[in-house]
Structures are given as C-alpha cells and as structure tokens.
Symmetry: C2
Subunit: 122 residues, 2 copies
C-alpha cells in the first residue's frame, strides 16, 4: 500500500483517518449498514420491505441508518406522493462502487457457514 501513517492522512466526514481501512469502515461499519447495503445491492426496496427482510432491526435504527447512508451518498431515497405513502431506497452510482466489497464480505461469511457446517435450517 502506498498510503500509511507516516506520509498521508485522509480528511473525510470532517475527521482525519490514518488508514484506508478506517475510511471504508466509516461508510459500512456498525451493526446494520452492511446488511442494508446487502439488501439494496441489486434492487430498489421500500422501508417496510427492508424491515421485513431484517426482522431484528427496529424502525428507529432502520430509519437512522438509511438516513446515514443517504447522507454519505450511498443510498438514494425517493418519495412517491401516493396514499399510502411509498418511499423507495436504492443505491446511487457511488453506492454501487461498494457492491464488490459487500459481495466479498458476504461471500466470505457464506463460505464459512458452508464449510464449517455452521449453517443450519431454521
């Protein structure tokens, strides 16, 4: 890697990062962001749809994390003036650049589950 502590730092999010890992993790870190990005990776989804896919997330966290992803420019939020209200979330072009990373993370976890036999039916 060209970049290390001694020569460069990253200025992002009004913060200073010393390592490229930290930069990426500031976008996808935390408990929920990778999961959300996973479900948005190849399709537009509605709020309730995401909630249904991720039963353990609270509405508060779903709302909060989607907002954070939107502020980071990864996710696009579109509101349709219908009744009942319809709001759709999808990846921006910028967000799509993260898909290979997301896929790599998912693939490793999936592979571990399969090879280690830790994957069990519900």
């Amino acid at each position: 890697m060209i970049i290390n502590h001694k020569e460069y730092v990253f200025k992002l999010h009004n913060q200073t990062y010393h390592c490229a890992m930290d930069v990426t993790m500031s976008y996808i870190g935390g408990k929920w962001k990778t999961v959300l990005l996973w479900y948005l990776r190849n399709q537009t989804r509605r709020f309730g749809e995401l909630k249904k896919q991720i039963p353990d997330i609270t509405e508060k966290m779903l709302s909060l994390q989607l907002k954070a992803l939107e502020e980071d420019g990864l996710v696009k939020r579109e509101v349709y003036a219908e009744v009942p209200l319809r709001v759709e979330y999808s990846l921006t072009d910028f967000g799509k650049t993260l898909v290979p990373v997301i896929e790599a993370i998912a693939a490793w976890g999936r592979n571990l589950g399969e090879t280690e036999g830790k994957l069990v039916e519900k």
Copy 2:
C-alpha cells in the same frame, strides 16, 4: 444469495446470525480488527511494531484485539523465550482467507481518498 432470513441461520460464536454479512462482521467488525489484519496481511509483526504502526491504539486495545483475533483462529501468536521478550503475530491459513476481503476494503477507501482529493500530506 442462496441464504436469507427465511431459510437458514448461522450458528457461530455461540450465537445466531441471520445474514452472511453479520458472520463476516463478527470477525472483522469493531474499530481495530481491520486495521490489525491490514498490517498483518503480508508479514509477521511484533507487538511494539503494531503499536508503532497504529499510534492511536492503546496497549490495552491492541492486546485485547489480538487476543480476540487469535481466539477466532485468524491470528497466530508466537512467543520466543528471549530477553527482552519477543512475541510475534501473523495470520493463520484461515486468517489468510480474509486477505482478499481486507484488500477490497482497503482498495475502496484508498480509491475514495485519491479520487475525492481527500488525501492530504501530513
């Protein structure tokens, strides 16, 4: 993805994961693990060496995270009976399977720093 909430779960770390993302993140999540894995990705390093590369980490966190990585089977710890004490950390074969993931995460962050011009000299 073959795996989703409806059909399968992962049993790991004495816990249940609903999503492959969570499995991987349980190994590399948190503030320090990706950084440590980054510095260990292609070479053996000593405790003090890691501390020097990552000035912001406290000795406690360095010790704690290395121990966690060791317990997860990603990192190997070797003690040499010398004075002064020498302890070397390196990736296990299992840990090395994570390198592509680590590289992908680093590459994305590095690329963002470069294209966005957020990369500045110290």
